[in-house]
């Protein structure tokens, strides 16, 4: 499979994730055909099993408190909006909305989908904090089997 044919775009819907989306779109010119879009939720008011699939496991959705249901619905809408943007670029898109540890779930989906590259935004934290506790991007770099493109700011 060509180097950039299938990529994973991890989004937390932040402005930096939007910048990363520009890179995902640009990679189409280098042979990208399919994008796996992933958002991981770790802040629901109830605990769910690690790796729970909030997009496809409808039973899970039903057991969520109303406030979480609304939150999850809004996330699905945002994922669908990203999907539309990428499909308009001519890319095939697959969506994931997972519950659990953010870097762990990103890496799991990357392995499951056999992507060739992970694209994500990086958020600055104190160096010591990152070394001791890990950050999402550091943990993804550490555990992913494929290359990782970390986007830090908007292209000037």
């Amino acid at each position: 499979m060509p180097l950039f044919e299938k990529t994973l775009y991890s989004t937390d819907f932040s402005p930096l994730a939007e910048v990363a989306l520009d890179y995902v779109k640009k990679l189409k010119e280098a042979g990208e055909k399919e994008v796996v879009v992933v958002h991981v939720v770790d802040d629901l008011s109830i605990e769910l099993p690690e790796g729970a699939d909030l997009l496809n496991e409808k039973e899970l959705y039903k057991i969520l408190p109303e406030v979480d249901q609304e939150y999850v619905t809004s996330l699905i809408e945002r994922l669908e909006a990203v999907k539309k943007i990428l499909e308009d670029e001519g890319l095939n898109v697959k969506l994931y909305l997972k519950y659990g540890n953010i870097p762990k779930q990103i890496v799991e989906v990357a392995k499951q989908e056999k992507v060739r590259l992970i694209v994500m935004g990086a958020h600055g934290k104190g160096l010591l904090t990152e070394i001791l506790l890990g950050s999402v991007s550091t943990d993804v770099i550490r555990n992913a089997e494929c290359p990782v493109l970390i986007v830090k700011r908007r292209e000037e």
Binding site: L3, E29, L127, E130, E155
Partner: protein, 163 residues
């Protein structure tokens, strides 16, 4: 252009070479220029006058100032980088080779800012991400403002790489 000018830090190890196919592929997404940078770490090379060594003549001029064996080593590195640069040039990517003395993060950070680098493409090993060494990779990520492509290779046998 998001990938127009790529900085490719090179250290003669296999992990560095793992980056090459990605840089070549980025040509299709607009990569026009690659800057291959070898950082002369003080811990390995001692004191070398702070300059951008981008030709064999500049490296040769170091004779007398540093040990001849070191100069020969630098020439070997420069020529190896030139071989790789020829592959980029053959693909239509303009390439600059440069050796700069300094610490890894500071030098990569300085260079990417000074030359308007759009992407840093960095090859690392699993070992670079161990608890005790991950700080160096983080330092580089922090030192550059541009996006950074990290290509991880399996741990190398020994540390000799391609030398």
């Amino acid at each position: 252009m998001l990938f127009e000018r790529v900085l490719y830090p090179f250290d003669m190890r296999k992990a560095s070479l793992g980056v090459k196919p990605y840089v070549l592929k980025l040509k299709e997404a607009g990569c026009k220029e690659v800057h291959m940078l070898y950082v002369l770490l003080p811990s390995e090379w001692g004191f070398v006058a702070k300059e951008e060594y981008d030709s064999e003549d500049k490296i040769e001029a170091l004779r007398g100032a540093i040990d001849d064996g070191y100069v020969d080593g630098l020439i070997r590195i420069f020529r190896r980088m030139k071989e790789i640069a020829e592959e980029f040039e053959a693909s239509g990517i303009k390439t600059r080779i440069v050796l700069i003395p300094g610490e890894l993060d500071e030098t990569i950070g300085y260079y990417s800012k000074e030359y308007g680098i759009k992407l840093v493409a960095l090859g690392i090993t699993d070992e670079s991400l161990s608890f005790f060494r991950v700080g160096k990779v983080l330092d580089i990520i922090k030192a550059v403002g541009s996006p950074i492509l990290i290509v991880k290779s399996p741990e190398e046998d020994g540390a000799k790489g391609l030398e």
